[in-house]
Subunit: 359 residues, 2 copies
């Protein structure tokens, strides 16, 4: 991982730096030049990138997928403990993850920023370092955007564009009863990484001489601060000759995503608690704050793994795959979307966590 | 114009309404359903719109253009005097205008919103009314977006996608010395509309019993509050058999846009003051606040007209066209970008207005 995790104590320093070069001095066009000068176009489909009223793309024999996500300070991130480079990386990842959830190949992104006067040019550079690193890692071109001011805080809006041949595209709506429900990677880590950051930040706030205790938690911190979109799964599906019948990425939490697949596909589901396994750091942190890691997986979100269904006949193809876990199966709609607890003792209806627009 | 101008005194009432239905009650998914339920796909190129991880588009024999703009409360708009419906409309228009500046046909948009808790559901509905109206008027499909909360204020991020055959596309970079510099419509109105709104708002703030005096200023108010992108120009160019050599839309002011064309095309320019004519309301308001309407045109921005160059041999084709005014001509780069004052008395270098990231 080229983008090292920065520890909390150095993070918010970015904002306190002497304003060596003022943003106002540089101006909008100067800033745009600065942050786009290093862009080298990587994809054939990008005919023109930044520098005109629009970018120009060319997709003569592919379908195009488009997705967009908006991150706001104080709601999606807290700059006290989120390094700007990571934030830039994550803002790209969460969009690339949506492209992956269509089984498509990401190709281009646009990035729009609203920046308040508290940000130095160095801070913006750091944010763009993360954005450029993500573009490099995912092989996507930054083709446009908008840079503007805001009265308070930072807002980042990213749009990602990708491609696929029609027969490769996977929607949310194709799951059939009896299909197996599968997930990539492990869940709950991103949420528990956030809990750790918030706890240590609170302790630091109460007593600034206390050094944050983050060692031994690299994994869950990286899950929270620098999530990686599963761009690898498209190739994996190809290599094991499996095409998911439905797919979604896990941004809001497993419960909510399962309910989306059920609703869009018109099916029910049984999720087996005992099929979910957790990373040791996830388990340790869950224990420390006295919650069940299952709750973090179901409701925490931000894991950016892929949740998908496959025909039951493909079970052997995924059974021992290191990146894939079968966690349940789809049912008829009338049977509902249920969590089956360990040992099959209880069946509990899955519930989507409410989103709170009040922030 | 279906979207009537609302007068100031009723505008900010939107935010004060009883919160009949709380946003929190409805939740994110409820809100998305509510604002997307009326969408009917209009374009063949939109294979799938909202409802999955990505929208899916199909452009087998066209180039695709992509642009994005971000509007933030307090910087780009003041909700005290900007009706939300107009704001929604304008957020779409400014992006469609960029598509027009490529000589392309707009087809799809995504809309992302960050909303603070001060907004009622009715306010969001009003904003979307304007967005949907713009989609209807411009024939574009709303294919996706993100709706999230913000700690303060409203942020709107729109991405627009359009299409063109390669030979129709017009970039900023094709102007040649001797090309004629042309503009559509008239300039300065949007800026003076804003000055009027700000003046009346200030008077209203000082004495709330004073009714805002807006009558007789419909034109400049509509230029500011509900700008229309020049989607008509593509057909006009076709009908008069003119293909611009370079083009840009006027969002930042004529000076700044001319300088963009000069820089990207590697040419200079002479803009003749006497070639610019102004709407009577623009002139009247300029007089009232004691500025030269020329200054509003050069530095005001937000007119969303098209600025373009054509070969000098095409002069006869545009000479008497009601939508097109020849305002100058391009020169060699060494001659600079100059404003020639009335009667040719002075040549003044054009200057881009600084953008102030401090807001």
């Amino acid at each position: 991982m080229e983008c090292d995790l920065v520890n909390i104590s150095s993070t918010n320093m970015t904002l306190e730096k002497t304003k060596n070069i003022e943003l106002a001095e540089l101006g909008e066009f100067g800033l745009i030049k600065r942050v786009t000068s290093q862009i080298k176009i990587k994809n054939e489909s990008t005919l023109r990138g930044v520098g005109d009223d629009c970018a120009v793309l060319n997709y003569p024999d592919r379908k195009i997928v488009v997705t967009t996500d908006l991150l706001t300070e104080g709601v999606h991130f807290n700059l006290v403990y989120v390094p700007l480079k990571h934030l830039g990386y994550k803002a790209v990842s969460v969009n690339i993850s949506d492209v992956c959830a269509m089984n498509a190949i990401p190709r281009q992104i646009t990035v729009s920023l609203a920046i308040s006067s508290k940000f130095t040019l160095e801070a913006i550079d750091e944010l763009y370092e993360g954005i450029h690193l993500a573009c490099a890692n995912y092989g996507v071109d930054l083709i446009g955007g908008d840079t503007t001011s805001s009265l308070t805080g930072l807002t980042i809006s990213v749009t990602a564009i990708g491609e696929a041949v029609e027969e490769d595209l996977v929607y949310r709506s194709g799951a059939k009863p009896t299909d197996l429900l599968c997930v990539t990677g492990d869940l709950g880590g991103a949420y528990l990484g956030l809990q750790l950051l918030e706890r240590e930040n609170e302790l630091f706030r109460l007593n600034p001489t206390v050094q944050p205790q983050l060692s031994g938690y690299d994994y869950i911190l990286s899950r929270q601060l620098k999530p990686e979109a599963r761009t690898d799964m498209r190739e994996i599906f190809k290599s094991i000759v499996v095409k998911p019948t439905s797919m979604i990425d896990i941004s809001d939490g497993l419960s909510s995503e399962i309910l989306h697949l059920c609703e869009e596909s018109g099916v029910g589901c049984r999720l087996y608690e005992e099929r979910l396994s957790f990373d040791p750091q996830t388990k340790k942190m869950a224990e420390e704050i006295n919650i069940n890691p299952l709750v973090a997986a179901l409701n925490g979100g931000e894991d950016y793994e892929l949740l998908f269904t496959i025909p039951v006949n493909d079970h052997d193809k995924v059974r021992n795959h290191p990146d894939i876990t079968v966690i349940g199966h789809m049912t008829k709609k009338e049977e509902g979307a249920m969590l089956v607890t360990v040992g099959g003792i209880q069946e509990i209806p899955l519930q989507a966590q409410g989103w709170n627009p009040i922030g």
